[in-house]
Amino acid sequence: MIKKSLHWIFHLYYDGFTQMRMGKKLWAIMIIKVFILFVIVKWLFFPDILQEKFHTDTARSNYVLDHLTGENNASH
């Protein structure tokens, strides 16, 4: 039963992809876009500031609390 279902799912995608015309171009755009977004943009330009700067939630809390109480705003 499971084997049959997996076989069906495989062929749903396989046949679908092989019969595509414009869809192939769309998949190419999607793959390039996702690569640009996740590998180049995210990795190079969009670090998660608080995750990278601090190792614990307590340290992150303290940093944001300092920010909210005006103690680390001078560096802006």
């Binding site: 944001v64 609390l65 802006h76």
Partner: protein
């Protein structure tokens, strides 16, 4: 606001606005076109007429293009939250976490799974199973929008949470209050129904073009009949949800409402401006008429906002400077409370660190008593609470004006289609074509109204945008702004080119997307 580089705030806002506006080019069409395609396929399954299958497949192909190009454009906003708005992300974390996690699961399981069946399953599953998949894609994509809009609604009207002064985070105290936040669900209904209107305009525009070119005539007429019927129904629904959404704005964000209407001085029986040109030299308290020209309906704003012709609608100056007669607290008073809250938070933090339990407890009591207006404590002047009035006013009136035109257009097109005279009225067909860009402008204008009108707040009354930004160099935000501008423009060009090619090929070749 203290010591914050204004250019950093401006570039961060500009980048988020750019990302959101581009993202919103793709989303509403997907939200609406999925339903139109589902309706067409339902007709096919009911009638067994192969023409409807072909019609469904053609529009499904254009849906695929829009979906593929728009896919993941919204994820950039998540990147921006972590980098440009890290303080904000931390402060709202618990509130955003649950809705966005549910959104992610729903989008992944419902959309992804049934999208495959919808596109690849025509000959693999029964007619009814395929139809079910198409409807589930429509429902799934709209439900995933629900969770995003719940998160946005919370920012406009924060409910069901409590700010924890130990962790600097808002913690959810009532999930259902967040879900049934009136600001959220009215926004959701208005937003998705606007997407249905846009999709109807999209189908009408392309079909009108076919009729103008005298090609694929039966296909175009059939598509127009579905789109105009659906469009009229949903645009009337959109009108009522817009009214509900505006009422929530009146209750929870009176400054936004006053800016949407260019209302500087509050009044009983306030008129609603149907059309107006603002005086660009107008400033607060100068006693000048805000309008150079206007056509207004007396009592309209009072009636729509508070269901009474005599209701008092506060103006911008009432909200900034207060109005004792109408019990409106001034921004200065709120700033005083806000500063008390900020000072108490600082005292609490220091007392806790020093182990002084009594002082910490006293400070916490002061903080809790004043935390409602904490955000005002970061403002430098009461006038900072005023958003960009001309931008809010014109964006709102563009949205409403275009929305009204769409209702008229749907009625005319539906009537002419039913009397089989549409092809003889070329001006109506051209109006159908040109209403599509107007639909996109109305979509963006709606978001500009919602987001510009609530400035300076990232979270209404709690956190101004300046305090929400990260401590990073404005130059790096500027670079990524231009990078996104190029990337999104390239995607938009790709979408338009691929769509134009597919539209030019027409429905005859729609079998293999």
């Amino acid at each position: 606001m203290h010591h914050i580089d204004p250019s950093l705030i401006d570039w961060s806002r500009a980048q988020f606005a750019l990302t959101a506006l581009y993202h919103w080019i793709f989303v509403p069409l997907t939200l609406g076109l999925t339903f139109i395609v589902a309706i067409m396929e339902t007709i096919y399954v009911k009638t067994g007429n192969a023409w409807w299958k072909k019609t469904t497949k053609f529009w499904m192909g254009l849906l695929a293009i829009n979906f593929a190009i728009g896919l993941a454009t919204g994820i950039i906003m998540e990147f921006e939250f972590g980098t440009n708005w890290s303080n904000y992300s931390w402060i709202v974390g618990d509130i955003f976490g649950a809705p966005l996690a549910i959104e992610g699961l729903m989008a992944f399981f419902m959309e992804s799974t049934f999208f495959a069946v919808m596109f690849f399953g025509w000959d693999k599953v029964s007619k009814r199973t395929h139809l079910l998949s198409t409807w589930l894609v429509a429902i799934g994509s709209n439900l995933s929008a629900l969770w995003i809009l719940i998160a946005n609604g919370w920012m406009q009207h924060p409910v069901g949470m409590h700010f924890n002064p130990d962790t600097a985070r808002n913690e959810m105290t009532d999930f259902w209050a967040v879900v049934f936040n009136p600001n959220a669900y009215t926004k959701f209904l208005h937003t998705i129904s606007s997407g249905y209107v846009l999709a109807s305009l999209f189908v009408i525009a392309i079909s009108s073009w076919y009729l103008l070119k005298k090609r694929d005539i039966q296909f175009a007429k059939r598509s127009i009949m579905v789109a105009a019927s659906f469009g009229l129904m949903v645009s009337l629904f959109n009108l009522t949800t817009g009214d509900d959404a505006a009422r929530q704005v009146a209750i929870n964000q009176p400054m936004k409402l006053a800016s949407m209407e260019g209302l500087y001085k509050g009044k009983k029986g306030a008129e609603i401006v149907a059309f107006g040109l603002l005086d660009p030299s107008k400033t607060l308290k100068d006693n000048k008429d805000p309008f150079l020209v206007k056509f207004a309906i007396p009592g309209g704003l009072s009636l729509l906002s508070y269901h009474s012709f005599d209701a008092y609608v506060p103006g911008i100056e009432d909200i900034v400077y207060g109005n004792k007669t109408h019990h409106i607290m001034s921004a200065s008073e709120k700033m005083q409370q806000g500063k008390k809250a900020v000072d108490a938070l600082k005292t609490y933090k220091e007392a806790k660190k020093a182990g002084n339990v009594q002082e910490a407890k006293a400070a916490l009591n002061v903080f809790e008593a004043n935390s409602k207006y904490m955000g005002y404590g970061y403002l430098a002047s009461p006038e900072q609470t005023v958003p960009n009035v001309p931008l809010t006013f014109y964006a709102f009136h563009t949205m409403v004006g275009f929305g009204t035109w769409f209702i008229v257009l749907f009625i005319i097109i539906l009537y002419l289609t039913m009397t089989n005279e549409l092809h003889a009225h070329r001006w109506v067909l051209w109006a159908g074509v040109w209403s599509l860009p107007m639909g996109y402008i109305a979509q963006e204008a709606g978001w500009i109204t919602a987001e510009v009108g609530r400035q300076p707040w990232a979270i209404q009354d709690m956190l101004p945008v300046g305090m929400a930004t990260s401590n990073i160099a404005s130059g790096s935000v500027m670079i990524t702004f231009w990078m996104f501008a190029i990337l999104f423009t390239a995607l938009l060009i790709a979408e338009v080119k691929i769509m134009a090619t597919q539209i030019n090929i027409g429905p005859k070749e729609a079998d293999h997307v």
